[in-house]
């Protein structure tokens, strides 16, 4: 990974998703992969102190550019979201694990909830020339959806909104059914309750007969998760989630995990039991 002083090239508000920063970060861009993130310093001082992790929302290796979706949340998020063209930005990245698309995948299903669109857009751009890609994206309202004209034209998409303002009323899991039989591979990113719901679908598929539509796809699903972070360098262990192999750091072993390995507890990440 690299510590790079990048420069903001342009910014644009995307509805309620946040501000998209387009950033010249040639050294990071050349290494970055879908699912990985940049840890962004929110200012020059130590107040606010912690960097903020943002998943890559676009990676353009040739142009040496990346894009990040930044919600103006907290003083650090506000500072980062308020950067303007020409401003410098201190980035640490690329960090964490990436989605792995199988060679043999013909039909790729991407599932995005809210700002979980970020890595899904990278995958959509990267995979659209190679295979059939369908993006299932959900949000609270239409303003929480990624604009479809910023997706590659060959990518099919289906939208859901919780308030019914656009597409299917409900959540992505209410619309995923017909797509499961079609897809050979599924990648997802979104809030924990969405991932937990996918986990329940996977569990159901696991218990079902091998003829269950999309069973193999569900069993093989990869997800990117979020957790509060400190260092993002793997040293502080603030970001752990419980997995089949014990605690795993979202900043190192993650953020991309096999869905079947992540432990959920009532729609949230399962938590470590020991208190001392």
């Amino acid at each position: 990974m690299i510590l790079e002083t990048a420069r903001v090239l342009s910014t644009s508000g995307i509805g309620q998703l946040g501000t998209v920063l387009r950033i010249a970060a040639p050294e990071i861009a050349v290494q970055a992969r879908a699912g990985q993130f940049a840890h962004v310093r929110p200012g020059l001082s130590f107040d606010p102190l912690l960097r903020r992790p943002y998943s890559f929302n676009r990676i353009d290796r040739r142009a040496g550019e990346i894009e990040l979706i930044v919600k103006p949340l907290g003083s650090g998020g506000e500072w980062i979201a308020s950067r303007r063209e020409g401003d410098g930005l201190d980035l640490l990245g690329p960090l964490g694990s990436a989605f792995v698309i199988h060679r043999g995948t013909r039909n790729l299903l991407l599932v995005a909830g809210g700002t979980g669109i970020a890595p899904m857009r990278v995958l959509a751009e990267q995979e659209a020339p190679r295979r059939n890609v369908t993006l299932l994206m959900g949000g609270r309202s239409v303003a929480h959806l990624w604009p479809s004209d910023l997706l590659p034209p060959s990518v099919e998409y289906v939208t859901t909104t919780e308030d019914g303002s656009f597409g299917v009323r409900g959540r992505v899991t209410d619309a995923i059914g017909p797509l499961l039989g079609w897809a050979d591979q599924l990648c997802a990113c979104g809030p924990w309750p969405m991932l937990a719901a996918l986990g329940r679908l996977r569990d159901a598929a696991d218990r079902a007969a091998s003829t269950y539509p999309g069973r193999a796809t569900l069993l093989d699903t990869q997800i990117a998760v979020e957790q509060h972070m400190g260092c993002a360098m793997g040293v502080c262990r603030a970001c752990v989630v419980v997995t089949a192999h014990g605690n795993a750091r979202v900043c190192r072993e993650g953020p991309v995990f096999p869905l079947g390995e992540v432990a959920f507890d009532e729609g949230e990440p399962a938590t470590v039991g020991v208190i001392a």
């Binding site: 690299i2 387009r22 603030a238």
Partner: protein, 434 residues
């Protein structure tokens, strides 16, 4: 624009033919009223958000103006320019010394070795050597703090860790510990709260896994020892004995004693007992890390010195708490946690200053060191070395910058060595000479 795009033949849910623009406008209008109500309640960010900048899924942005502007300016009307601008990408980096720049350029930039480019380093030829604890001479007074630098191997991808005076590894207990429930970290003004819960793989595994890596990195390692009984501390030291890179032990006595629940570090008697037991187990220097949460930290310091401690680290984190006002409960999974970062620096400097007048053994200052001037504060208050901890999360180069800055300070002030500033701010009463 339709709500879905389907060209391939896949079975899909029913169609809806409203355009995204229409729906968006509706949404923006509909939200206006609701927002005004919310704005009254949410003055600024929620705690969960402020903690990490992670979007709190339950919260709308607080600024109505930005919100509506965003909704109306959304780029499905005006797509942002794509990456074809002719403007050459900016290739600059953080302002930093030439040496740091070179090192941070690439991942795993050739295993850093002290000798390889020693001649080029800003600290070369400057006398930064200190006695960080009795019997522990370090080439410079800059260490990394336990729990903020892992096992040293992680940040080695960014900086040449062999330039550090030493590293202090993550708190090591006899057996592996899974640590505390989430959340484990929260941001505070100029600092952070943490409640990691000493997650570590256990002493045997630490020795097995990192002995070679430490040797390869050319780094001096101080093992941070933690436990819940005197035997725990002795066991950990026993397991690490003979590991070539290990140059000293730092006893983290901010742990509750299983017998009484009292923190070892809060009770002079318990602190002395642990110190004596560990001293009997090893010939390496033993440093005791003081907790500011002790009712009388100076008494603990004195007791440790009498029990044979070779040095003291001042300080560990300060107890603190944040409440998530939305969920109406503490943010941290354990409720309270340890405060660190610049927020605690004045407390740490003060304790260093007090303890320096009470003991003759060297002190390592810790608490909110972010730059050279912060480090000088501790040295002048009587510390012989400093640890950089939380600052590294914001600026991974901070420890290296402090080394370079201290070298520049010695040169710039015509000092013979960095030792000339140690304790210069202490009151002029002569130290007891023993």
């Amino acid at each position: 624009m339709p709500w879905r795009r389907a060209r391939r033949k896949v079975e899909r849910p029913v169609d809806v033919s409203r355009s995204i623009e229409e729906s968006l406008e509706e949404a923006a209008e509909g939200e206006e009223e609701e927002d005004l109500v919310e704005l009254a309640e949410l003055d600024g960010a929620t705690i969960a958000e402020a903690a990490t900048g992670e979007p709190d899924p339950d919260r709308e942005p607080s600024d109505l103006a930005i919100k509506l502007q965003n909704a109306l300016d959304a780029p499905h009307r005006e797509p942002p320019r794509r990456g074809l601008e002719s403007e050459a990408p900016h290739r600059g980096r953080l302002p930093q010394s030439a040496a740091s720049v070179r090192e941070t350029t690439r991942v795993k930039a050739a295993a850093p070795s002290e000798s390889a480019h020693a001649a080029a380093l800003p600290e070369t030829g400057v006398d930064l050597e200190v006695e960080a604890a009795r019997g522990l001479r370090l080439k410079n007074p800059v260490l990394t703090a336990s729990g903020t630098f892992g096992q040293g191997v992680e940040y080695a991808e960014l900086i040449d860790v062999s330039r550090l005076g030493a590293i202090v590894n993550k708190g090591t207990t006899p057996a592996a510990r899974p640590g505390n429930p989430q959340y484990r970290i929260a941001e505070t003004p100029s600092g952070i709260l943490n409640s990691i819960g000493l997650e570590n793989p256990g002493a045997t595994e630490v020795a097995r896994k990192y002995a070679k890596a430490w040797a390869d990195l050319g780094v001096s390692v101080i093992v941070n020892v933690a436990g819940y009984s005197v035997d725990d501390y002795v066991y950990v030291v026993h397991e690490l004995e003979g590991t070539p890179a290990v140059v000293a032990y730092e006893l983290n006595i901010s742990c509750p004693n299983v017998k009484g629940g009292m923190l070892f570090g809060c009770d002079p008697g318990l602190a002395a007992e642990v110190t004596r037991a560990v001293k009997a187990e090893t010939d390496l220097p033993v440093i005791v890390k003081l907790t500011p949460n002790a009712p009388d930290v100076v008494a603990v310091a004195r007791a440790c010195e009498e029990a044979g401690a070779d040095g003291l680290t001042a300080i560990n984190t300060v107890l603190g708490m944040r409440i998530d006002t939305k969920r109406r409960r503490p943010i941290l999974g354990t409720g309270s946690g340890g405060l660190s970062g610049p927020a605690i620096r004045p407390i740490a400097v003060h304790i260093t200053y007090q303890v320096a007048q009470a003991v003759a053994i060297p002190i390592i200052g810790a608490g909110g060191v972010t730059n050279t001037d912060d480090a000088l504060e501790f040295l002048m208050a009587g510390a012989s070395a400093v640890q950089v901890g939380t600052a590294t999360f914001a600026d991974p180069l901070a420890p290296i910058k402090v080394i370079e800055g201290l070298a520049a300070y010695v040169g710039g002030h015509g000092l013979a060595s960095i030792r000339d500033v140690i304790g210069v701010a202490l009151p002029p009463t002569p130290e007891p000479d023993d």
